[in-house]
Symmetry: C2
Subunit: 369 residues, 2 copies
């Protein structure tokens, strides 16, 4: 398909702190954005979703997707926007039939559980995902250079979890049964997923995404050994095919394995710019383990946002101090991008997010002074 | 209350491999038992539970509890038995009203969510838990020295999760809200829980338990820093009060924090004999991190048991090789107790458990030859 980001049509970037921090360059504050920042905790999001009728109605409509992506930026001085979409768009485009029942997680009409189903899988025609790329271009235009736009995808393994289970799972019994009893089938799914994810992210980049993130949301459920073979290897395969530049501009990449703290040293070797961390990880230790060649993103517990503003500020200060002073100057050391360790809860009081963002900006400026 | 294990009434231990491995003494094979080994995957368990009418009907009846505890030992040459009970008996005895709806997790009639509810908490009268101690003594007698009997409790933090949430949780929002916004209340709950757990385990030891295990099932959901303050500190408090000997015999203690692999070095300082590990932990690394003063227990993914026997054997060999040769001789190095990294799934084919146990015994004997 013909995707063009029409670079001339995009306004120059005004706040580049997020991109600079991704590339380990100096910033005057620690940039912050929040996973799932456009979401149900915002009344304006709930209003738009009600108009759209369903989650997929929201995600597949360019105007709605643009509207909700910008909502949190109108409330808070966040340093990045993230495409409003779902991690499961790729298997949906493979023909598995994604749907979201109200109040429940995602479901596929068809699960991939045997050799015949695996044989039918292929990298989908990107035309089926045009609604995503259209949304990327529309959001990028609407942002008008305020902050950069992050594109994203689920990781090959995380997509495979949903494709085999057919929905979320408590124990990952079906996908792990395939992994342990038919590793050949699992590898076949993961190869296709990796190539599909790489193409999907590259097309988002062509459409206007200024950074991309791979959500390995379920990497942490794997056993040691299985993680390296069935998740990390395929994240590596995606990164090997990923554009690192577009129209002469560097496109940073972020890899986030929830529950992956034990494998941080191995993830330090990934060909990406940033590693995302959940709240179980100690930032001082992570920085020492990963070394100078990665920026780190994270990592306070989203539940901190249920405490009062003074306590939120105290947790922010703790996290910033735990990371320590960022090295300044290109390529001289890790930098920190503030985020939660997981998506923001739908029950979060919106005014607490304002306290969080303000605390990160103020305290990180003080630390640099 | 008056609990007497009547040591004269108990037969001498025939298979002491589990106890020896706990105490880092040589064994001719790697002992194995399975978390939740008396459970729903066994048709004979399901039959007894049907007769008992409910989970609590089963757990509170001495004869039923004895019967189901011994069922897996009649099928498999396991090296230890574990008391059939639930981790939530202590808060139930505190008056919170534990129940299990069919096919659902545990629920409390009363949750502990505010200052008034916390003020009412106290270490319960152990008389309310007499059914547990009676079961311990009855099982110990019925075992007749075949293998040792493990007693257990939930950790102070894990109990607190259920006490505040009132049931299981996906996000631990309520308990973490209290933790971050009212740490004083959380500490108060945890102090009471720690003292109750210590008394509960000591009374199990007096009743006949030959080892005890603390299940910190939800320690891994805490943020770094919060884990040390709200879970580890109270496990330490329990261990400080725990009997390490009874009637002149050493009683080993095991601490298992699911998802606690990142804190293994800190857990190495705990005053316990064994650390349990889930499947995300690399046994070679764990052994190096923990050093020579702890035995390690674990850790294959319970989902391995859905693969065929040849694949189960291969995973067993991998785990045993990953741990490496056990040091022999008292106190000279860590030893390995084989287990799953979490409770066995109710969907496990019982014949696969036979393959697992046989593989562990045979391969570990070969490794010693």
């Amino acid at each position: 398909m013909n995707i063009s980001s029409q670079p001339g049509a995009f306004a120059p970037l005004q706040n580049d702190s997020f991109i600079r921090a991704c590339l380990r360059q100096a910033t005057d504050h620690t940039p912050i954005w929040l996973m799932r920042q456009a979401g149900r905790y915002l009344p304006e999001y709930r209003a738009t979703r009600a108009r759209a009728g369903s989650f997929m109605g929201l995600a597949t409509n360019t105007d709605y997707a643009t509207e909700v992506t910008l909502q949190p930026l109108d409330r808070y001085p966040l340093d990045a926007a993230i495409l409003f979409s779902d991690i499961l768009t790729v298997p949906d485009a493979m023909g598995l039939g994604l749907s979201f029942a109200l109040g429940e997680g995602p479901k596929f009409a068809y699960a991939v559980r045997d050799e015949a189903a695996v044989a039918q899988l292929a990298v989908p025609d990107m035309d089926k995902l045009r609604y995503v790329f259209d949304a990327v271009t529309s959001i990028r235009k609407a942002l008008n250079g305020r902050v950069p736009l992050i594109g994203f995808s689920g990781s090959p393994w995380t997509l495979a979890c949903y494709m085999v289970e057919g929905a979320g799972s408590d124990d990952y019994r079906l996908v792990k049964t395939m992994l342990y009893s038919r590793p050949d089938l699992m590898h076949k799914i993961l190869e296709i997923n990796a190539d599909a994810v790489a193409l999907y992210l590259n097309t988002q980049i062509e459409a206007g995404a200024q950074a991309v993130m791979i959500f390995d949301s379920w990497g942490g459920v794997l056993a040691d050994g299985a993680f390296q073979e069935f998740s990390l290897a395929y994240t590596t395969r995606v990164l090997g095919q990923l554009k690192t530049e577009h129209d002469g501009v560097r496109i940073p990449s972020i890899v986030f394995t929830k529950g992956g703290g034990l494998w941080l040293e191995e993830m330090g070797a990934l060909k990406c710019d940033v590693l995302g961390l959940d709240w179980t990880v100690n930032l001082t230790r992570a920085r020492a383990m990963v070394g100078a060649n990665k920026a780190l993103q994270g990592n306070i517990d989203p539940n901190v946002l249920f405490a009062n503003p003074a306590q939120i500020e105290s947790e922010v200060a703790k996290a910033l101090r735990s990371f320590g002073a960022p090295h300044v100057g290109a390529g001289t050391g890790p930098t920190h991008i503030f985020n939660l360790g997981h998506g923001i809860s739908q029950h979060t009081p919106p005014e607490h997010v304002a306290s969080l963002v303000q605390a990160v900006h103020e305290y990180s400026r003080q630390m640099r002074a």
